[in-house]
């Protein structure tokens, strides 16, 4: 299929341009997103195209902004609230957890909340403890939310477009390291439904499950492993909720070994839950225990050497793969 090479942030912008043109009920609020175009330039140009009614800067009021987005969604609009760092979403957790996630159930399914929170997380090279977190597990834990973590420009575009066409609250978590990365984005309409994993690299010896910024790192590891004679399959769930369990189980049934890579801290993470799903449903397909490569249980330190130590690196992934293959590789 024909396509173009776009940066992750350009692909997101393209999704916003297309969807706002299609649906008048979409509007965006956030800090510095209008004239300035956002800290990561995702919303650049939208103000000129769609005007100040639909593209608005806000004061620094995360709880209020998220609440307003949720209320607007309940009242039939399709709001996007941009939260500069996922760390700042913590200020609005009541609105996410107690309001957005629960309204559909609390109304017996009569009310819906088509609300999208766009934000970004992860380590970014010295931005320290309050601007570096990977907090997807907090949202993953709350029934009623959708958790989306695209790793490529094409996925970012297709998933954001789908987010704006479905009716549940979406935590759309980008990664600060990915905005400038490039990738092929197919021409024409691109919609990626939630709950469909993507195999980023096919392989036969081991399944590597990763998402967001751990995908490029895991792909590098897979490339190096190939040079060592190990064929690694890299699976990106793309959405953690809903999770494509079938794709995971199918891949594990093929490779019989699995390593899960997450940037977030190890304790109480999504990787642990995926691991438990695999051991419950594919135990007899496994030739080795599932390994998790995750962040240390620590706030992210400012010091770059320590920051690097805090989150999984390529060599950690390779070591884990060697460990699950210990009885296979000479």
């Amino acid at each position: 299929m024909a396509g173009r090479e776009l940066m992750y942030r350009e692909a997101l912008r393209e999704a916003l341009f297309e969807e706002m043109g299609r649906d008048d009920s979409i509007f965006i609020i956030g800090e510095g997103i209008a004239e300035r175009g956002g800290s990561y330039k995702v919303t650049e140009g939208l103000l000129a195209e769609y005007g100040p009614k639909r593209i608005r800067d806000t004061p620094i009021s995360e709880a209020g902004m998220i609440g307003v987005g949720v209320g607007a969604a309940i009242a039939g609009a399709r709001p996007i609230v941009e939260i500069l760092y996922v760390d700042f979403a913590m200020l609005g957790m009541d609105m996410i957890v107690n309001q957005a996630a629960k309204f559909r159930l609390m109304t017996g399914g009569k009310g819906r909340v088509p609300f999208v929170m766009r934000t970004q997380g992860g380590t970014g090279g010295g931005v320290a403890a309050q601007h570096s977190q990977s907090l997807e597990a907090l949202f993953y834990h709350i029934p009623g939310l959708r958790v989306v973590m695209p790793s490529t420009p094409a996925d970012a575009k297709g998933l954001l477009k789908y987010a704006l066409r479905q009716d549940d609250p979406v935590m759309f978590i980008e990664h600060k390291h990915l905005y400038m990365t490039k990738g092929e984005v197919p021409d024409g309409e691109l919609i990626i439904e939630f709950g469909v994993a993507d195999i980023k690299r096919e392989g036969t010896d081991v399944t590597l499950i990763a998402w967001s910024n751990m995908i490029p790192r895991t792909l590098e590891a897979a490339k190096q492993l190939a040079g060592m004679g190990i064929s690694a399959e890299v699976l990106d769930p793309r959405t953690l909720v809903p999770l494509d369990r079938d794709a995971i189980l199918k891949s594990v049934a093929k490779t019989n070994r699995c390593v899960i890579v997450q940037e977030a801290v190890r304790r109480g993470g999504v990787a642990s839950d995926i691991s438990s799903i695999i051991q419950e449903e594919a135990f007899y397909n496994l030739d080795a225990p599932v390994q998790i490569v995750a962040g240390m249980n620590t706030p992210i330190p400012f010091n770059l050497k320590l920051e690097e130590e805090s989150v999984p690196q390529k060599d950690d992934i390779i070591a884990a793969v060697q460990s699950v293959l210990h009885n296979k590789v000479a």
């Binding site: 008048d24 009920s25 509007f27 009614k53 639909r54 608005r56 806000t58 004061p59 009021s61 709880a63 209020g64 902004m65 998220i66 609440g67 307003v68 987005g69 949720v70 209320g71 607007a72 969604a73 309940i74 009242a75 039939g76 609009a77 709001p79 009541d94 609105m95 107690n98 309001q99 629960k102 309204f103 159930l105 609390m106 109304t107 017996g108 399914g109 009569k110 009310g111 029934p143 009623g144 809903p242």
Partner: protein
């Protein structure tokens, strides 16, 4: 800020509506408490007894296209916004015929077809949610107004300032009614804040703000009519502090011993339902007999709703599992 009643005499039709709504709420709460004590209603039940004048007056000033957001003490708002007693009783009795099919209960009750964003178990949540509805309406070019009912307790929550400020900078058609019943559960307003005249908080961020007697349904109505007019003319948002008092504790199982007897008496002497009835008889010239007939009809409506709810089924476990399968 003083607020003068309109010079034009209110119509009998309006006075009848104010009384009917206030009495319907009064009856729902009084009879609901009996069902609660019989064990038919479970969970929490926060009665609106004593505050009926606010919901009755405010919702009478709204059109069908307007929105409301409510609180944990939300039965009154739901009724005043046009919900049926049958759907509400069924909800409190956990039946599938209830407004939320028994998934929400007292604290989350909502007839969303009446543009009601629902009761809410989180104190303060109605303000940002209501501002959101106001924003949705502004974006789609509607002149609909959103009224958020809130509480004195909620004014010490951060979202009060954050969201009212957003409504102000965006000139939203938003009316915040702070029902000042002078208690956050058992904590008095004076313990919770140094400045107990809460409308001043609106003024501090450039929002037109009023303080009125919330136990006067007609005054509430007239104040909200004015606020709605101003909003539709682009002069919103507006804050209305409506001073009132509960007749009892925070919820059914709270005896409210911390509430001074003389203060309860003071407010019961200014009971909003009695005032609505007196207005209907004195200003509306309705006979006491006709008023009694209205009351009897409302009482019968509740009894029929209980019968219907008792006969209704509940959502099955299978239906529940299917409903949340994609969660």
């Amino acid at each position: 800020m003083a607020y003068n009643k309109k010079e034009n005499a209110p119509s009998k039709e309006l006075l009848e509506k104010l009384f009917t709504t206030a009495f319907r709420i009064r009856n729902f709460e009084s009879e609901g408490i009996k069902l609660y004590r019989r064990g038919l209603i479970r969970g929490y039940f926060h009665p609106y007894l004593g505050q009926e004048g606010i919901a009755s007056g405010a919702c009478a000033a709204l059109e069908d296209r307007d929105y409301i957001a409510s609180t944990h003490r939300g039965h009154g708002h739901c009724i005043a916004q046009g919900a049926t007693i049958e759907g509400m009783v069924a909800e409190l009795l956990q039946k599938e015929t209830g407004y939320c099919k028994g998934y929400g209960g007292s604290m989350h009750i909502a007839d969303i077809t009446k543009n009601n964003l629902g009761a809410n178990g989180i104190v303060g949540a109605s303000t940002p949610l209501g501002v959101g509805a106001a924003m949705a309406n502004q974006v789609r070019g509607s002149d609909a107004v959103t009224v958020s009912f809130s509480t004195d307790g909620a004014t010490n929550n951060g979202t009060f300032l954050e969201s009212l400020n957003l409504a102000a900078i965006w000139d939203l058609n938003f009316i915040l009614i702070v029902e000042n019943n002078q208690y956050a559960v058992s904590t008095t307003l004076a313990e919770a804040t140094r400045e107990t005249e809460l409308y001043k908080r609106g003024e501090a961020i450039g929002v037109e703000s009023h303080r009125i007697d919330g136990n006067d349904p007609l005054l509430v109505y007239e104040t909200v009519v004015d606020a709605v007019k101003k909003c539709r003319a682009g002069l919103g948002p507006i804050l209305i502090e409506a001073v009132t008092f509960r007749h009892s504790g925070h919820h059914v199982n709270d005896p409210g011993k911390y509430m001074p007897e003389d203060k309860i008496k003071y407010y019961k002497d200014r009971d909003p339902v009695d005032r609505a009835r007196d207005n209907l008889i004195n200003m509306g010239k309705m006979s006491a007999k006709d008023v009694k007939a209205i009351e009897a009809e409302i009482e019968a409506e509740f009894e029929a709703a209980v019968k219907a709810a008792e006969a209704a089924g509940e959502v099955t476990v299978e239906e529940f599992r299917e409903f949340v399968a994609d969660y």
